[in-house]
C-alpha cells in the first residue's frame, strides 16, 4: 500500500521493514535456519532420538523457547533424515504433564504412592548415605544396578566404582542375548546393535518372527523397503500374517515353537541339493561334514509334521533363499527370548547364514569397523571377591558379563544366594514391564532395603521406590554419543540438549557427577562437563567438536565385507578355531548340543491359546503410551484371535474380554480383534499396554499387559535368558450375575 510514502523517499515504515529484514537474515545466517511456521526464524538443534534405542538423527526445531517440532536429520548417515512416529512425537514426552518433576522420598508404604518432595541436595545426600550403609553392612555387591538407555552409562560408572559388579539390562536376558551368544559361537562375534543387515542390497530376506513394519527401526525399515522395491525375495516365518508377511513371496505360518525344525529342514534341503556357498564354506567354515550328517534325517517331510507347514513350501523357500546367495539376510531377530532353546535357534540361523555365504558379504550381514576413541585415565574399578550374583559366567556359562542377567539378579535378591542383594538402582527401565514374572519381581522388591528409581515418568515401579529421581528427557540433556561400528559406514552421533531441563529434572551425567562427588568417586568421572567428555572421546577421530555438534553426526569409512577387510581389522572369525563353527566345540565342552537339536514344544490344551506378543510401530515398549500424540494414534491394544476361534467362543469384534493364564493371572479387559491373520493355536497382543500407574493419566489401565500373563518362563540354560512364549491363556469365562 503506497500510503505513508513521501515523495522522493522511502518511508520510515518501509525503511524499518527493510532493516528488520536484514537483521533477521543476518541472525538466520549465524544461528538459525529458515523457520518452521509462519516464516518465523526457528533455531534447530541436531541431536539423536531416544524414543527407542535406535537413536536416529533428529533436528529439534525450537520456537519461543520450546521444541515445536522434531524432524529427521538428513546428515545422519544411517537414518538419512527419516524419523518414525515416535521420533516425530518426542517433544510430547518432553511436555508430558505427567512427568516426574522433583525428587521424591517415600513416606507411605511401598506401593501406596505417598511421597514427599525434596531438594536434589537432600535426595542425593540421602541416597549416598543409604548406599554407604549398605556397603558397610553387606558389602558394595549388595547393590544392583538395572539400567537402560543412553544416559544410564554415567551412573553405571559410578556403580562400578562403588564396587558392585551387579548390573543387568533387559537388553540381554529378555531380548537379544541368545542371538549375541548364538552368533558369537558361530562367527566369533555377535550381531550387536544396530544390526548391520544389508537389507537394501539383499536379494532375499528371511524373517523368522521378525515383524519389520510393526517393529520400526527407521533405517531398517527404509532399507527393507528399498530392498523390496529392488525386487528382493521375502520369506516370512510367523504364526501371524504380519505386515511383513503381507509383502512376502512365501509366508510360512509356522506352529509356534518349532522354528528349529524348520531351520534344520532348510539346512537339509540346501545341503542335500548342494545349494550352499561351497567356496565360502571351504575357505571359512569348519564342521560341515558333522552338520551334513546331523541334518540328514530332518527332511522337509519330517519338518512338515512338526511345523504344520507344507513340505513343498519348506523346500521352495529354501531354494528361493539359496538362489539369492550370498546376498541373503536371514534376519537374526532382536527380541529372541521365546522358548528357552533360543541360543540354539540363533545358532541354527547363524549356520543357515553361513551356508548361504552371507556373513560379511554385500546384501548379507555386514562386519563392523572399529572407531578409535579417546579416553581419560581413570583408576581401575575395584574387583569384587565375591563375583557376580546373577549367574553370568557361572550358572549361565555363556551369559554376557557386560549386559548381565536381570532375572538372575532377581533370583539372587529372592534367595540371598550367592549373597544378599539389598539395594536396587533402577535407571531408565521399567522392571515390572520389561522383566517377566511380575510377582517375583515384586516379591524381590519387598525384600529390598533400598529401591531408587531414576525415570522420566511416574511408571508403576516408582510407587515402590524409596527415592525417585526425575531425569531430564533426551531433548534436555547431553548424553554419551552414539558410536556405531556396526554400519556400512560407521559413525558417531551426538545427543545434545535442545532446551534446558524443565521443572527440577536433571540430566543423567549431572546425577552421576553429583553422586560420584558424594561417594568420593570423582576420579572415575574426571571431566568437568559433557563437552570435555565428548572432546576427549573424539580426539583420535579427526573431527572437530563444533562440526560434530552442528551436523549432529559424522560418518567414517567402513570395511563391512570380507573382501574389504584389512589386517588392522583383526581376525575375520574370532572363534576358537578362527573359522565359522558350524559345529561348536565350546558348546559340547559345556554340555550342550554342538549342532542345534529340535525338541518339540508343548501344545496348548483345547480352549487355551499360546500367548504371543510383539510391537506396534507407534510405541516403544511400555515407554511411550502416555505420549499425547502417540496415545492419539494408539491408546490401547487388542488381542488378535483367529476369526474361527473367536466365532466358536462367541466373541465379536471389539468385545472386551479378560484373559487368564494357567497360573490364574488375569489381564485387564481388552478388546477382541477376530482376524484370519493368526493361527488358531495362539493369540497375539502388542506389548506395553495395561500399565497400572495412576500417575500416567493417558496410559493407566488402557488395554492389557502381556507381561501380567507371563508368569512362566523357560530359561535358556546356555546364557540364562527367559523364554516368554511358553504361557497359555484362555478367555476368562464370564461370571453371570
Amino acid at each position: 500500500m503506497p500510503h505513508g510514502l513521501s515523495p522522493g523517499g522511502v518511508s520510515r515504515r518501509d525503511w524499518f521493514r527493510a532493516t528488520a529484514a536484514t537483521a533477521a537474515a543476518t541472525s538466520a545466517a549465524t544461528a538459525a535456519t529458515p523457520g518452521q511456521r509462519a516464516g518465523k526464524p526457528a533455531l534447530q538443534v541436531a541431536t539423536n532420538c531416544e524414543m527407542c534405542f535406535w537413536r536416529c538423527g533428529a533436528l529439534a526445531k525450537i520456537q519461543d523457547g520450546r521444541v515445536a517440532r522434531i524432524e529427521g536429520n538428513p546428515q545422519h548417515p544411517l537414518t538419512l533424515g527419516r524419523l518414525c512416529a515416535r521420533g516425530n512425537a518426542g517433544h510430547q514426552t518432553l511436555y508430558d504433564p505427567d512427568r516426574l518433576k522433583r525428587p521424591q522420598l517415600r513416606t507411605g508404604a511401598r506401593g501406596e504412592g505417598r511421597f514427599q518432595e525434596v531438594s536434589w541436595d537432600q535426595a542425593l545426600d540421602w541416597f549416598a548415605a543409604r548406599l554407604t550403609e549398605l556397603k558397610n553392612k553387606y558389602g558394595p555387591e549388595s547393590v544392583a544396578y538395572l539400567p537402560h538407555g543412553a544416559s544410564s552409562g554415567f551412573f553405571g560408572t559410578v556403580m562400578k566404582a562403588f564396587g558392585t559388579p551387579n548390573s543387568a539390562e533387559p537388553a540381554f536376558a529378555q531380548c537379544r542375548g541368545p542371538r549375541e551368544v548364538g552368533y558369537a559361537l558361530t562367527f566369533g562375534r555377535g550381531v550387536a546393535s544396530p544390526e548391520p543387515l544389508d537389507l537394501a542390497n539383499a536379494r532375499a530376506v528371511v524373517l523368522i518372527g521378525s515383524h519389520i513394519g510393526e517393529n520400526v527401526f527407521t533405517s531398517q525399515v527404509t532399507q527393507f523397503s528399498e530392498g523390496l522395491a529392488r525386487g528382493a525375495k521375502l520369506i516370512v516365518v510367523d504364526p501371524r500374517f504380519s505386515t511383513a508377511a503381507a509383502k512376502a513371496d512365501h509366508w510360512l505360518p509356522i506352529r509356534p515353537g518349532t522354528d528349529i525344525a524348520l531351520l534344520l529342514a532348510w539346512i537339509n534341503v540346501i545341503l542335500s541339493e548342494e545349494l550352499e556357498d561351497k567356496e565360502y564354506l571351504a575357505k571359512y567354515a569348519q564342521g560341515l561334514d558333522d552338520l551334513r550328517a546331523h541334518v540328514k534325517p530332518f527332511t522337509p517331510e519330517w519338518a512338515s509334521a512338526e511345523t504344520e507347514l507344507p513340505a513343498g513350501l519348506i523346500r521352495d523357500s529354501a531354494r528361493m533363499m539359496a538362489a539369492a546367495k550370498p546376498a541373503v539376510v536371514v534376519h537374526p531377530g532382536r527380541h529372541v527370548t521365546w522358548y528357552g532353546d533360543d541360543t540354539q535357534r540363533s545358532r541354527a540361523m547363524a549356520i543357515l547364514t553361513a551356508l548361504l555365504g552371507a556373513w560379511g558379504r554385500q546384501g548379507g550381514i555386514l562386519l563392523p569397523t572399529t572407531i578409535k576413541r579417546g579416553s581419560f585415565k581413570t583408576p581401575p574399578f575395584p574387583e569384587s571377591k565375591r563375583g557376580r550374583a546373577d549367574g553370568a559366567g557361572t550358572t549361565y556359562p555363556l551369559a554376557s558379563e557386560e549386559l548381565g542377567v536381570s532375572n538372575g539378579l532377581i533370583e539372587a535378591t529372592l534367595t540371598a544366594k550367592p549373597y544378599p542383594i539389598k539395594g536396587w538402582v533402577v535407571y531408565g527401565q521399567n522392571v515390572l514391564e520389561s522383566i517377566p514374572q511380575r510377582e517375583r519381581t515384586l516379591s524381590a522388591i519387598r525384600l529390598l532395603d533400598l529401591l531408587v528409581v531414576v525415570d522420566i515418568l511416574p511408571v508403576e515401579q516408582t510407587l515402590y521406590a524409596d527415592l525417585i529421581l526425575p531425569e531430564a528427557t533426551y531433548l534436555e540433556r547431553y548424553d554419551a554419543p552414539h558410536i556405531v561400528e556396526t554400519a556400512a559406514r560407521p559413525f558417531i552421533s551426538v545427543r545434545q540438549p535442545a532446551v534446558p531441563p524443565m521443572y527440577d529434572s536433571r540430566p543423567g551425567w549431572w546425577i552421576a557427577k553429583a553422586m560420584a562427588a558424594r561417594l568420593g568417586l570423582e576420579a572415575w568421572l574426571p571431566w568437568k562437563n559433557p563437552d570435555e567428555h565428548l572432546a576427549k572421546l573424539i580426539e583420535p577421530m579427526g573431527i572437530s567438536l563444533g562440526e560434530l555438534k552442528a551436523r549432529g553426526a559424522v560418518a567414517f569409512e567402513g570395511r563391512p565385507t570380507i573382501e574389504q577387510r584389512i589386517e588392522a581389522d583383526g581376525p575375520l572369525f574370532p572363534t576358537e578355531s578362527g573359522k565359522i563353527e558350524l559345529s561348536s566345540k565350546l558348546l559340547k565342552e559345556i554340555g550342550h548340543d554342538a549342532i542345534p537339536v529340535y525338541r518339540p514344544p508343548a501344545d496348548p490344551p483345547p480352549g487355551w491359546f499360546r500367548l504371543l506378543y510383539g510391537r506396534a510401530p507407534v510405541h516403544s515398549f511400555a515407554r511411550t503410551e502416555n505420549n499425547a500424540l502417540l496415545n492419539g494414534l494408539m491408546s490401547e491394544n487388542t488381542v488378535w484371535m483367529n476369526d474361527h476361534s473367536a466365532r466358536d467362543l462367541g466373541l465379536a469384534a471389539g468385545q472386551r474380554i479378560v484373559l487368564q493364564n494357567a497360573d490364574g493371572n488375569e489381564s485387564l479387559p481388552i478388546s477382541v480383534q477376530p482376524t484370519a491373520a493368526i493361527r488358531k493355536d495362539c493369540v497375539y497382543m502388542v506389548h506395553g499396554f495395561g500399565q497400572q500407574a495412576p500417575g500416567l493419566h493417558k496410559a493407566n489401565a488402557r488395554g492389557a499387559s502381556d507381561n501380567a500373563l507371563i508368569s512362566r518362563v523357560a530359561i535358556d540354560p546356555i546364557m540364562g535368558s527367559t523364554g516368554m512364549r511358553v504361557n497359555f491363556v484362555r478367555v476368562k469365562p464370564e461370571v453371570q450375575s
Binding site: M1, P2, H3, G4, G8
Partner: protein
C-alpha cells in the same frame, strides 16, 4: 367500524400542529439498524459463494469480495458489524427493558386487534383499487407496522442466535450447519417484510410524514388524526386533562446532552474539539500508521488530473513523476479518501448545527469580490508553501507535531511568525 364516533376538528388547524411520536433514542436506533441491515445484507449476500446456495450474481460476490480485500475480511466485517448490532440492541434492551417490554407497550405496538385485521384487508384492497371502504382507526402503529414488528421480534433473536453460533462455533458441526440455514431463512423473512416497510416509508406518499417522523420525531397532527386515530385520541384526551388541570402536565422531553452538543449552533469550546480531534488523530495513527492531512490529498488529486490530461508530461516531469507512475494508481492514497470524509464530516456537522448556508466570511471593510480574490491568492500561496514544506497545518503541524517531528515544529514556528506579522499588515482585510 368506529368512524361514526370520530370527532371532526377543523383539518386546517391540525395540519399546522406537530405532535411528538418518536423519542430520539428510537430514531437513532432505527437508523443505526437501517445502516447495519444494509451492511449485513450486502456482506452476507456476498459471503454465500457456494454454487448450491448463492442467490446473488457472481459479479456481486466478486465485487464485494474485492472491496473487502479478502473473503476472510468480508466475514470478519460481517461478524464485527453483527456483533456491534447485537451489542447496541443489548444496551437498548437492558436500559429500555421497562420502557419497551411491558405488556401495555407490546399490546400497543405488536398485538393486532379486530380493527387491525380489517385495516389490513381494506388497505390491500384500496391499494389494488378494489375498495373505497374507509380504513378502520389505528393506534400509534398501524396493522402493517405491527405485523412487521412482530416478524422482526421473532426473527431478530433467530438471526442473532444463529449468527453467534456460527461466529463462535457454539455447538457441534451439525448445529452450525443448521444455524447457517436458519440464519438465511430468518433474514429472508425479514427482508420480505423490509421491502414493504421501505416501500411504505420511502415511496408510498401517504406515509411520508411517518418517514419524516423518523428524522424529527414529530408528525403533523393531521397525519396522526387520519392515520393513527386511536393514538390521536389518546394524545388529545391527555392534553384536555392537562388543560383541565386533572393530570400532571406532560413533561417536555429534553434532548440528551449528546444531542444538544451535536445540535449546538455555537462553536464548541476549543478543548472539546481539540480532544475529539486528538482522538481522531490517534486513531488514525493506530489504524493507518500515519497522521491526518490535507494538502497531500490535493496534490494527489491534481496529479490525477494531470495523469488524465497529460499522462506523458506527468510521468516524465521531475516533480509530478513522484506521484504519477505507470501502473500505479495515483489516487491510492490515504489522504485522497480522507479528504472525502473531511467534506462529509463538515457537511454533517454543519447540518446538525444549522450552519449550512452559502455565505462569504469577510472583514467589514472589503467587498465579497475582493475577499474571493484574496482567498484565491492566499490559497495559491498556501498551496505552494504546503508543497515546499511537504505538508500543511494538518499534515505537518498537527500530525507531525503529534509524533514530535522536528520539521513540524520548525514549520509551526514559521507559520505563526508569518501569520502574526502578516496580520498586522493585512488588518484592513479582517478588522
Amino acid at each position: 367500524m368506529s368512524s361514526a364516533t370520530q370527532v371532526q376538528p377543523p383539518l386546517r388547524d391540525l395540519s399546522q400542529r406537530m405532535i411528538k411520536k418518536h423519542h430520539v433514542a428510537i430514531i437513532l436506533l432505527h437508523w443505526f439498524n437501517a445502516i447495519t441491515w444494509l451492511i449485513e445484507l450486502t456482506t452476507g449476500a456476498a459471503l454465500i459463494s457456494s454454487e448450491h446456495f448463492r442467490f446473488v450474481p457472481v459479479w456481486f460476490v466478486t465485487m464485494i469480495t474485492e472491496v473487502s480485500g479478502t473473503r476472510a475480511n468480508l466475514l470478519r466485517f460481517h461478524i464485527a458489524a453483527g456483533l456491534t448490532w447485537i451489542t447496541v440492541f443489548a444496551v437498548y434492551a437492558i436500559f429500555g427493558w421497562q420502557t419497551y417490554f411491558h405488556q401495555e407497550v407490546l399490546e400497543r405496538e405488536v398485538a393486532l386487534d379486530k380493527d387491525d385485521f380489517n385495516w389490513l384487508r381494506i388497505r390491500v384492497l384500496r391499494i389494488l383499487g378494489r375498495s373505497n371502504e374507509p380504513l378502520p382507526p389505528q393506534g400509534i402503529y398501524n396493522a402493517g407496522q405491527k405485523m412487521f414488528a412482530l416478524m422482526v421480534y421473532v426473527m431478530i433473536p433467530v438471526i442473532m442466535g444463529t449468527g453467534l453460533v456460527m461466529a463462535f462455533h457454539w455447538g457441534p458441526m451439525t448445529l452450525v450447519g443448521w444455524a447457517v440455514v436458519l440464519h438465511f431463512a430468518a433474514v429472508a423473512v425479514v427482508v420480505s417484510g423490509l421491502m414493504v416497510h421501505v416501500y411504505m416509508g420511502a415511496v408510498f406518499p401517504e406515509e411520508k410524514p411517518a418517514f419524516f417522523s423518523m428524522l424529527t420525531g414529530m408528525v403533523p397532527e393531521e397525519f396522526a388524526y387520519k392515520h393513527h386515530h386511536k393514538w390521536w385520541k389518546e394524545v388529545k384526551m391527555l392534553e384536555e386533562l392537562h388543560a383541565a388541570g386533572l393530570a400532571e402536565p406532560r413533561p417536555v422531553p429534553r434532548p440528551s446532552r449528546l444531542a444538544a452538543a451535536l445540535r449546538m449552533k455555537e462553536h464548541w469550546p476549543g478543548y472539546w474539539a481539540g480532544f475529539g480531534l486528538g482522538l481522531t488523530l490517534l486513531a488514525t495513527f493506530l489504524i493507518v500508521g500515519q497522521g491526518l492531512g490535507a494538502s497531500g490529498g490535493f496534490t494527489r488529486y491534481l496529479a490525477f488530473v494531470l495523469s488524465l490530461v497529460a499522462p506523458g508530461y506527468a510521468s516524465a516531469h521531475p516533480y509530478w513523476s513522484n506521484y504519477v507512475q505507470p501502473g500505479q494508481p495515483v489516487l491510492m492514497d490515504f489522504l485522497v479518501f480522507e479528504l472525502i470524509g473531511v467534506a462529509l464530516g463538515g457537511v454533517v456537522s454543519g447540518w446538525l448545527a444549522g450552519h449550512l448556508k452559502w455565505t462569504t466570511d469577510k472583514g467589514p471593510r472589503i467587498s465579497p469580490r475582493t475577499r474571493w480574490a484574496l482567498a484565491f491568492l492566499g490559497g495559491a500561496i498556501s498551496g505552494a508553501g504546503a508543497r515546499l514544506a511537504r505538508g500543511c497545518t494538518s499534515g505537518l503541524a498537527l500530525s507531525g507535531g503529534s509524533v514530535l517531528s522536528a520539521g513540524a515544529f520548525v514549520f509551526m514556528l514559521s507559520v505563526f511568525a508569518a501569520g502574526f506579522i502578516g496580520a498586522y499588515f493585512l488588518r484592513r482585510i479582517w478588522l
